[in-house]
C-alpha cells in the first residue's frame, strides 16, 4: 500500500505557496483612467461647476488664456474651456451610448451565432457582413439626413455602424469558450442552453469584450468627431469637439489654438481610452494562463 494513498491531502499547502501573479497595469494606465475620469467628471457636473455658459457671446473674441477664460475665447467670444467641457458631454454620450447599444445588439448576435453555430450563425454573420460592406459614412449621412440632426440619431448611426464588428468579435470569443470542457460539464449537470449562455459563456466573454469596448468607445468618439467636423452631428451652437475643430479651421493661421485645443482634448481622450483598453486586454488575456 502506498503511504500516500491515505495521507491527509498534501496539495492544500500548494494553494498558499503560489500567490497570484499580478501583471502590473502600470503608470500610463492610471494616467489614462485619470484623464478619462476627469473628462467624464467635468462633463457630468458642468452645469453645477462654476463654468461659464458655453454659448454666451459676452467676452471679446479670440482672447488668450487668462484666469477669467482658462483657455481663452473663440471667434464669437465664447469661453473655450466651457465649450470644450460641454462638447465632452456630446462626445462621451455618443461614444458610450452608441457602444452600449452596439454591445447589446452585436453582443447578442455574436453569442447566439457562436453558441448555436449552423444556420443561425450563417444568417447572423451574413447580416453582419452586409452591414460591414455598407459604407459607414454614407449610412451615417443617410440617418442624420432623414431622421434629423440630433444627439439620438447620431448615437443610433454610430451604434448601428459598430454592431457588425462587435458581433464578429463576440462570436469569435464565444466560439473559443463554447468548446471548453466546463460548458460540456455544465451540460452534463442538466443546464439548459439559456443557462449555459448566461452563466457559463457570457461572464467569460464579458472580460475580453469589456476591455475591447474601451477601444470601441474611442473609435465611436472619433467617429462622432468626424461627423461633427462635417457638420453632421448635433446642431450648432451646441459644442462638439469635431464641430469646434471645424469652427476654428478658418482661423488656423492667426489663432491655431481654436482648432488645436479641441483636437488635443479629443486626441488625449481617445489615446487614454485606447491605453486603458489595451492594458486591460493584456491583463485579462487568459490564453497563456491555464484557468
Amino acid at each position: 500500500m502506498l503511504p500516500l494513498a491515505n495521507a491527509p491531502v498534501p496539495e492544500a499547502a500548494a494553494v498558499e505557496a503560489s500567490p497570484r501573479r499580478k501583471r502590473k497595469l502600470g503608470f500610463f494606465f492610471i494616467l489614462s483612467l485619470a484623464w478619462v475620469a476627469l473628462v467624464i467628471f467635468l462633463a457630468v457636473f458642468a452645469s453645477v461647476l462654476p463654468i461659464p455658459d458655453p454659448n454666451a457671446q459676452k467676452a471679446a473674441i479670440n482672447l488668450n488664456p487668462s484666469l477669467h477664460h482658462l483657455l481663452g475665447t473663440d471667434s464669437l467670444g465664447r469661453d473655450m474651456f466651457a465649450r470644450v467641457v460641454y462638447a465632452g458631454r456630446v462626445s462621451l454620450t455618443v461614444g458610450f451610448a452608441s457602444i452600449a447599444i452596439g454591445l447589446l445588439i452585436g453582443g447578442a448576435m455574436g453569442v447566439i451565432a457562436g453558441f448555436y453555430r449552423g444556420r443561425i450563425d450563417r444568417v447572423l454573420m451574413a447580416i453582419a457582413d452586409v452591414m460591414l460592406a455598407f459604407p459607414a459614412l454614407v449610412f451615417a449621412l443617410a440617418i442624420v439626413t432623414f431622421l434629423g440632426q440630433n444627439l439620438r440619431n447620431v448615437t443610433i448611426a454610430i451604434a448601428v455602424i459598430s454592431i457588425p464588428g462587435i458581433a464578429r468579435i463576440v462570436r469569435a470569443s464565444t466560439l473559443t469558450f463554447a468548446q471548453r470542457d466546463f460548458v460540456l460539464a455544465a451540460r452534463t449537470l442538466g443546464a439548459s442552453n439559456r443557462r449555459i449562455i448566461l452563466r457559463e459563456i457570457l461572464p467569460n466573454v464579458a472580460i475580453p469584450i469589456g476591455a475591447f469596448s474601451f477601444i470601441a468607445v474611442a473609435l465611436a468618439i472619433v467617429g462622432e468627431g468626424g461627423l461633427a467636423f462635417l457638420g453632421l452631428s448635433v446642431h450648432a451652437p451646441t459644442a462638439t469637439w469635431g464641430g469646434m475643430i471645424n469652427d476654428g479651421r478658418s482661423f488656423l493661421e492667426d489663432h491655431p489654438a481654436l482648432s488645436l485645443i479641441p483636437s488635443a482634448v479629443l486626441f488625449l481622450t481617445v489615446l487614454a481610452l485606447n491605453f486603458a483598453g489595451d492594458a486591460l486586454r493584456a491583463r485579462f488575456d487568459t490564453k497563456d494562463v491555464s484557468v
Binding site: L2, L4, A5, N6, V9, P10, E11, A12, A14, V15, R20, G118, R180, D181, F182, L184, A185, A186, R187, T188, L189, G190, A191, S192, R195, R199, E200, P203, N204, I207, T286, V289, S290, V291
Partner: protein
C-alpha cells in the same frame, strides 16, 4: 423496476462522417451495468473510449454523426428522450467527471456557485440550504476549509483540489451512475491514487454505479468489478477484473498487461511495447482489427473477424473476441 439492470448498452454504434470517410469510433458495443457496480473501460488513445462515454451520455454533436443501438437507463431508452427530459437525467441521475479539472470548471465562477448550481436546479434547494449542502459535500470529498474554498475561484486551487471539486459537483445531486472519463490523467501521480480512492469511496458510500474510462490498466486494477478492453471501437475482451488479469484470452489484453511497468523487475528492464499503431478507424483492417499487430495472428485472423464469445475455459461473465485465445491450446 429494481430487478432490471441500471444501464444496458445494446449494439451501440457511433460513426462520424468526415471528409476522409466514415470514422467508426464506436462500432457495436454492448454491455450491462448493475446498480452499484463499477466497470472499467480500458483502451489506447483513439480506441473510442471517450466517444463511447459521451454516446452513453447522449452528448454527441448533432451533425455528421451516425448513432445506432440503444442505451437503456433504468429501462428508459435515452435516445428517445427530448432535450428537456435529457436535462433532467443529466446531473440528477447520471453524473460525469472529466479528464482535465483545469478546463472543466468555469474560470470566472466561484467554486461555491458551481457546486450549488446543480443542487438548486435539480433539487430545488433554497440558497442557504444549498450552501450548507455544498460545504458538506466539499468536506466529504476531502477539501480542507470548505467554507473558504467556496468563495475562491478555480485558479486558486491546485489540480487535485479542482478534481475533488468536479467530483463533488458530479455527485451533488446523487446520481445513480457516475461516468469518470480519464479522471486522473491530467493529475500528478501522487494525487492520482487519492482521487481514485475518493471516487471508490463515494461510489461505495452512495451505492452508485460507476464507469471508469482510462488508458491505464493500473488505474482500474483492484478498483472495478468488471473490465472491458476496447480496441478500434469494439470491446475485445470483457471479464471480471481479477479474471482478466489472471486469465486474459485476448492477445491485446495480454500485451496491455505486459506493458504495465513492474517495480519488482531489475532496473533497465526493457518495457514491452505493442508494435505498430492503432488501426485507422476509417479503413479498419480486414478480419480481426488487432491482427496486424498480433504476435499470434494466423491466416484466418486477417480475413475473418472473431465475434465476442465465451467458452468453457472461462467463467460465464468472461467474453473475448479472438480465434486463438491466449492460454488455450489451439484446437483442430
Amino acid at each position: 423496476m429494481t430487478d432490471q439492470p441500471l444501464l444496458v448498452v445494446e449494439d451501440l454504434v457511433t460513426h462520424f462522417r468526415t471528409n476522409r470517410g466514415t470514422v467508426r469510433a464506436v462500432d457495436g458495443v454492448s454491455f450491462t451495468l448493475e446498480r452499484g457496480e463499477t466497470l472499467g473501460i480500458v483502451g489506447e488513445s483513439g480506441s473510442g473510449k471517450t466517444v463511447l462515454s459521451r454516446s452513453i451520455m447522449g452528448l454527441l454533436p448533432p451533425k455528421n454523426v451516425v448513432s445506432e443501438g440503444r442505451v437503456l437507463f433504468e429501462g428508459r431508452d435515452l435516445s428517445s428522450l427530448d432535450a428537456k427530459q435529457m436535462r433532467a437525467v443529466w446531473g440528477a441521475e447520471i453524473g460525469m467527471v472529466f479528464q482535465d479539472p483545469m478546463t472543466s470548471l468555469n474560470p470566472v465562477m466561484k467554486i461555491g456557485n458551481q457546486v450549488t448550481e446543480g443542487l438548486r436546479v435539480h433539487l430545488g434547494m433554497e440558497k442557504e440550504r444549498a450552501i450548507e449542502t455544498a460545504v458538506a459535500l466539499l468536506r466529504s470529498v476531502g477539501i480542507p476549509e470548505p467554507e473558504r474554498r467556496m468563495k475562491q475561484f478555480p485558479f486558486e486551487l491546485s489540480g487535485g483540489m479542482r478534481q475533488r471539486v468536479t467530483i463533488a459537483i458530479a455527485i451533488a445531486c446523487g446520481p445513480k451512475l457516475l461516468i469518470a472519463d480519464e479522471p486522473t490523467t491530467a493529475l500528478d501521480v501522487t494525487v492520482q491514487s487519492q482521487i481514485l480512492n475518493l471516487l471508490q469511496d463515494k461510489q461505495r458510500e452512495r451505492h452508485m454505479a460507476m464507469i471508469l474510462v482510462t488508458h491505464d490498466l493500473g488505474v482500474v486494477a483492484g478498483r472495478t468489478d468488471d473490465i472491458a478492453v476496447m480496441y478500434a471501437g469494439k470491446i475485445v475482451e470483457k471479464a471480471p477484473t481479477r479474471e482478466l488479469f489472471t486469465q486474459m484470452r485476448m492477445p491485446y489484453t495480454e500485451a496491455l498487461i505486459h506493458s504495465i511497468p513492474k517495480t519488482d523487475q531489475p532496473s533497465h528492464t526493457r518495457l514491452p511495447a505493442i508494435g505498430g499503431r492503432p488501426p485507422d478507424l476509417v479503413n479498419p483492417p480486414a478480419g480481426c482489427n488487432f491482427s496486424p499487430r498480433c504476435p499470434y495472428a494466423r491466416d484466418n485472423c486477417h480475413h475473418e473477424e472473431p465475434p465476442l464469445m465465451s467458452d468453457d475455459t472461462v467463467t460465464a461473465d468472461h467474453a473475448f473476441a479472438c480465434w486463438y485465445p491466449v492460454g488455450v491450446p489451439v484446437r483442430g
